[in-house]
């Protein structure tokens, strides 16, 4: 069986010549919940964008066995859902219902199927009955949940999250942690919050300077104080 994500020798430079990713090799199994940790500017967000085919670069990326390239991009986008760091970028439609329906409608599903998916996705994230609301009427926590619903309605096999816990208060962060834990999909989360990563991840990938520094067991990596401090991080509070 192929891995959910397979990255081989991926390198990427920004247009100004700055190296963002350098020789990344990574395999993520289906159903695995991985946290990408690293300091600001480490390349976490860039790696997530490369996985979903938003960036080029050298090397190869395979999603569910399909190579990420122009030919496969529509299939890839149906398999991998990207949840951006700012929910306001993710929620661009006039109502929450239209936003959650946006992906399924673009997939060519019938209106009835779309309605069912919208209802299910909103229920999963705890926003049932709020479909008629405009995104700017939602709280920060609700926006975050709504952004996740826009991805869930497409039923992707893999979901990437960029700083999903950003600007959430402890209660909403706990709700999010609970939600992410119960999702059956392969999850890849980029985060600077070590406590959050520690609580939701089954494996860790530590990135710094565009390179993978360490990957594997959560406790082994995250409780290594020297390793974490060397890369501008801290060990989680237990």
């Amino acid at each position: 069986m192929s891995n959910a994500v397979e990255i081989k020798n991926l390198s990427y430079k920004y247009p100004d010549g700055t190296t963002a990713l350098e020789d990344i090799n990574l395999s993520i199994q289906a159903g695995e919940k991985v946290a990408l940790i690293g300091p600001n500017g480490a390349g976490k967000s860039t790696l997530l964008l490369a996985m979903a085919g938003f960036l080029g670069g050298s090397g190869k990326v395979f999603i569910d066995g399909l190579e990420v390239n122009k030919k496969n991009i529509r299939k890839i986008r149906a398999i991998i859902g990207s949840c951006l760091d700012n929910p306001d970028d993710q929620l661009f439609m006039p109502t929450l219902q239209d936003d959650v329906a946006f992906g399924p409608l673009n997939m060519g599903l019938e209106a009835k199927q779309v309605e069912q998916r919208v209802a299910e996705a909103l229920e999963t994230v705890g926003l049932s009955g709020m479909g008629e609301k405009a995104p700017h009427h939602l709280s920060a926590g609700q926006k975050r949940a709504a952004a996740i619903a826009t991805i869930l309605s497409m039923r992707p096999k893999i979901i990437t999250f960029d700083e999903p816990e950003g600007s959430l208060d402890p209660r909403h962060r706990n709700n999010l942690t609970g939600l992410l834990k119960k999702l059956p999909q392969t999850l890849v989360k980029a985060t600077c919050d070590m406590n959050f990563a520690f609580s939701v991840a089954e494996s860790i990938v530590l990135i710094d300077g565009g390179r993978i520094i360490a990957e594997g067991n959560v406790e082994k990596i995250m409780l290594d104080e020297q390793l974490m401090t060397e890369h501008g991080l801290e060990t989680p509070k237990r």
Partner: protein
């Protein structure tokens, strides 16, 4: 941050709110066209025309205080335009209202006409946006055959204008926090230019990220919506009443008051 949205009453429920957005849009456009095309001598007729949007606002339960506040907000430009006509057209005319009559200049007459038309058309427009959810309005425009790109742009404008206003407020607050003395006009203009430039840069950045979010969810240039619009008996009655009201005024009231 909390914003006072122009469509904040659009989520209420009333017989007007339940009407099809296409019907409300077409009636508003046609009514506005009729009001604008009235001759400048028909100040008294304008009062009669105001009954239409006034009745719609009352039926929809839209507070009139809110309506006139919105009209005031957008009035400065029209006020300048209206009052400027007082100075360039000074020929005298006599106006009558029932048994009363006054001698005024044509400039003042033109000024009152402009203000009257502005208030009535604004009332009609506010009645439309206060009784129609923006998503339904967009869906209606799309179904009426408006260019797809225009509908998409309007949707984005509605969605992101508040975010842009928030950002501008944050920047102004950040500037105020560090501006400890009067900088002088030249410096102020320079700082304001930088802030506008920064706002533009961030808007472009946001646009790129929104594009990523759209492409990530399979956007291929086609705009789909789940909104369902249906013309029902109530819509047909509304069209009939609106047409009868406008035509009635046009045919019968004009000769009497005009």
């Amino acid at each position: 941050m909390h914003h006072a949205h122009i469509d904040k009453f659009a989520y209420q429920d009333s017989v007007i709110h339940r009407l099809d957005s296409r019907v409300k849009f077409i009636v508003t456009v046609l009514f506005t066209a009729v009001v604008i095309s009235l001759p400048r001598t028909s100040v008294s007729i304008l009062f009669c025309y105001a009954v239409g949007p006034f009745a719609v606002l009352v039926l929809a339960g839209i507070p009139l205080r809110f309506v006139f506040k919105q009209i005031l907000i957008v009035s400065p430009f029209i006020l300048v335009l209206a009052f400027s006509s007082v100075f360039y057209d000074r020929s005298e005319v006599r106006i009558a209202f029932g048994p009363y009559f006054w001698d005024i200049t044509t400039g003042w007459l033109r000024c009152f006409t402009i203000l009257g038309k502005f208030i009535i058309t604004m009332m009609a427009l506010i009645a439309l946006v206060s009784t129609t959810r923006f998503s339904n309005l967009l869906c209606g425009l799309q179904k009426l055959g408006f260019p797809k790109i225009l509908v998409i742009q309007l949707g984005f404008l509605y969605r992101y204008i508040f975010i842009l206003i928030d950002r501008a407020h944050h920047m102004i607050r950040a500037r105020s926090g560090r501006k400890l003395k009067n900088l002088g006009l030249k410096r102020e203009v320079k700082v304001a230019s930088s802030m506008i430039g920064s706002l533009l840069g961030r808007s472009i950045d946001t646009a790129q990220r929104v594009n990523i979010a759209m492409e990530g969810r399979g956007f291929n240039g086609n705009w789909h919506s789940l909104s369902k619009l249906r013309v029902r008996a109530a819509d047909l009655i509304f069209i009939f009443l609106a047409a009868a009201f406008t035509a009635g005024l046009f045919i019968f009231v004009k000769p009497i008051l005009g």
